[in-house]
Symmetry: C2
């Protein structure tokens, strides 16, 4: 595939990633104090440059409006003074977190006297491809630095002016601390070829984290030869069991769906056990309806939805497979816990799956049998989140099984090495 990529773009990406690799060697040896000082300098620099950053952001907003972005997307793109302050404060929060590098994960002294220990070390160079808001640029740079990694950022083109301004400020702040600017770089040229060059930069990039829609993630998984951590596609289910407390079920279903709709841990599908359907459906459909949610249900739900005043459409297989990220939910009545488990097995994206039940046996089966990053009993799916879990920060939510699964904090941005110390031991 490499031969199809523009050679100038390959050279540009290799130069950027090469500088990142060079910088990563410095970063790996920094003390926590040095990294925290750099993070605080970066935060102060953002505050100071707030005016310029907002001007740069205005360009993106004007361009976005001309391109017909929705008000919702424009709002996600917008940086104003409070938002710049918030991203700066996020860096200060990261400075306050413990340093994962150097942590001894396990170790022992072998019978022959060799002392072995497994120690956390940085990955090296982390690349991120994302489509989201410009605050991700700063968060990712801060988390990478704290975990001793250099980072190559590929943001969405809609935020390119903002991202350039932000990265420029961060790089200057690094240099003011005597650190290499190559520790944080933005790949904002070269279009798709640049992304493909990044995905195949083996030996320069240690891990690639795509953050965005299913299409982006599938492309990266298919084309990347660099190790990938898949993130964030969530077709999350709430299953209301026959033995559910219906008040809890109502609160959890509504919160999981409507607390914030554009996020990967929002519920996209509701399964209701036949045994409580008659009692529960009118309540939950009325509540969802009055929150403006459209219900995509099987034929059986049509009447109940109409009586409850909820918008209704007939669900297809595609609906059950879909991550709406909007005020829509698919819904089905199931005959049994087994049928609920089978439905989840068929449609789950392995993100977060919740059961509402007071039945200990049903809860135990759900927890044991559902194959997902997070399995929940009597709690909103919205809790699958690094901040909620107490990680202090989050680079994304992994839905793969290798390396990291679920919310990824600083530790998930590290690898380990074995340190073996002896006194001349040889193998017999």
């Amino acid at each position: 595939m490499a031969d199809l990529i523009d050679s100038e773009t390959i050279a540009h990406v290799a130069e950027l990633a090469g500088a990142a690799r060079e910088a990563s060697r410095r970063l790996a040896l920094l003390s926590r104090a040095d990294k925290d000082a750099a993070l605080l300098a970066m935060a102060d620099a953002l505050d100071l440059a707030s005016g310029e950053i907002i001007v740069a952001n205005d360009l993106d907003i004007v361009r976005g409006r001309a391109a017909g972005l929705t008000e919702g997307l424009l709002d996600r793109l917008r940086l104003d003074r409070p938002r710049v302050e918030a991203v700066a404060d996020a860096l200060r929060d990261i400075a306050g977190l413990p340093d994962p590098v150097g942590e001894v994960v396990r170790g022992s002294t072998l019978a022959n006297g060799l002392q072995i220990r497994q120690v956390r070390v940085p990955m090296g160079v982390v690349a991120m491809i994302y489509e989201a808001r410009p605050n991700v640029t700063v968060d990712a740079a801060g988390l990478a630095l704290k975990s001793g990694n250099a980072v190559v950022l590929r943001g969405g083109s809609a935020a390119s002016s903002s991202n350039r301004a932000l990265v420029e400020v961060l790089r200057s702040a690094l240099q003011s601390q005597g650190l290499p600017a190559g520790a944080i770089s933005l790949l904002d040229e070269g279009g798709r070829d640049a992304v493909r060059a990044l995905m195949t930069a083996r030996g320069l990039v240690d891990v690639l984290i795509p953050r965005g829609g299913a299409d982006l993630i599938q492309t990266v998984v298919r084309e990347s030869t660099v190790p990938v951590i898949e993130t964030g596609v969530g077709n999350c289910h709430v299953y209301v069991d026959a033995a559910a407390d219906l008040d809890k079920a109502l609160a959890i279903a509504v919160n999981s769906k409507t607390h914030r709709v554009g996020v990967c841990n929002a519920a996209e599908s509701l399964l209701v056990h036949r045994g409580i359907a008659a009692a529960f459906l009118p309540r939950v459909l009325a509540a969802l309806g009055s929150a403006g949610v459209t219900v995509h249900g099987d034929a059986e739900l049509e009447l109940a939805a109409k009586e409850a005043g909820a918008e209704y459409s007939l669900a297809t297989d595609d609906d059950f497979a879909r991550e709406y990220l909007s005020l829509d939910i698919s819904a089905r009545v199931v005959e049994s816990l087994d049928e609920a488990l089978a439905h989840v097995r068929q449609y789950s994206t392995g993100h977060t799956e919740a059961i509402v039940t007071e039945d200990r046996g049903a809860a135990r089966r759900w927890v044991a049998e559902v194959d997902a990053a997070a399995v929940m009993v009597n709690a909103s799916t919205r809790f699958t989140d690094g901040g909620e879990f107490g990680f202090g920060a989050e680079i994304g939510i992994s839905t793969q099984k290798l390396h990291a699964r679920g919310p990824m904090g600083l530790a998930e941005l590290t690898s380990t090495k074995w340190v073996v110390e002896g006194d001349g031991q040889i193998r017999q």
Copy 2:
């Protein structure tokens, strides 16, 4: 790429991997007692079927001899009664190891009362592609079962008759325990197409572990869309520092090179600091020479090698990059620790890198700055091994940074899931 693969082969691999996935759901829920009973039944069945297995192996040996395999390769391929007993005993050893599944890695109770814990769970379906001896077939099957995974095995064609016989015995033993035969399957048809179908069986295969030469591993890394754990290419260095104890250095260099030559943790390159070169080179070259080692050195080493009676050839860049897996070693005199570090940075495959020194500062720099799965001070590179590290068993040695790095035991064949238990909590 999928459209280039023979469709019958794709269907065959999908059927095999589908049966493995189905089986994996049963395996994930087994108690340790059930898994250990199955492992012991598998071991007993191998002992009982020893005669048939040896007959099947004879076919491979005859075929191998006709195909011109070296005596060394034929010996690796051969199964006799003691060797069948040894693989059966390896299964009994695995039964004796703790079960990694269900281990709580971390957990806490959040301020809102949610109880969260990160629990080890099986990967699901593990695929292995390997070229090595038929004992790997049994080891891999045993380790996968103990860690609750189904396994799809793709062995080398030279061992196909042996592998079929072994897997047949293992599957029967599983079924006699009421477990699904699909838990262990052998993919021994379809040639390269089958391997490619396996590498792209996303959703059916959770992780692919190639074990073999650099070519195999590079192919898998390049073509696989299934997550991969790279194993086992080791261009391992021994660096003898200016402050080395020369007796230790001699023992470590000779042991690292000659203890066993065909393995990934054997030393392939020797770096000697200028400051002790005059004292050390005659000794180490004589010892290597009398062990039958050919030294591939820079021009400077020629005279010393000849005086010491060691076979010598002029080293090229390729030599320094090469994993010989034979009685050959590349060698260089370096002017400083920095030069040694730079050399290792250029040529290391990230497996095992050892320094011999009594200088605390040099040892600390080596440990901190060398980027490898194992960094050693005053010890033979041969110690990077799951058995030596006390893991009890080993599925391979990872040289990548994601998920597992260094020797992989049972824990490395698991993922985790977050279990979140609440009492109706919703996000505010």
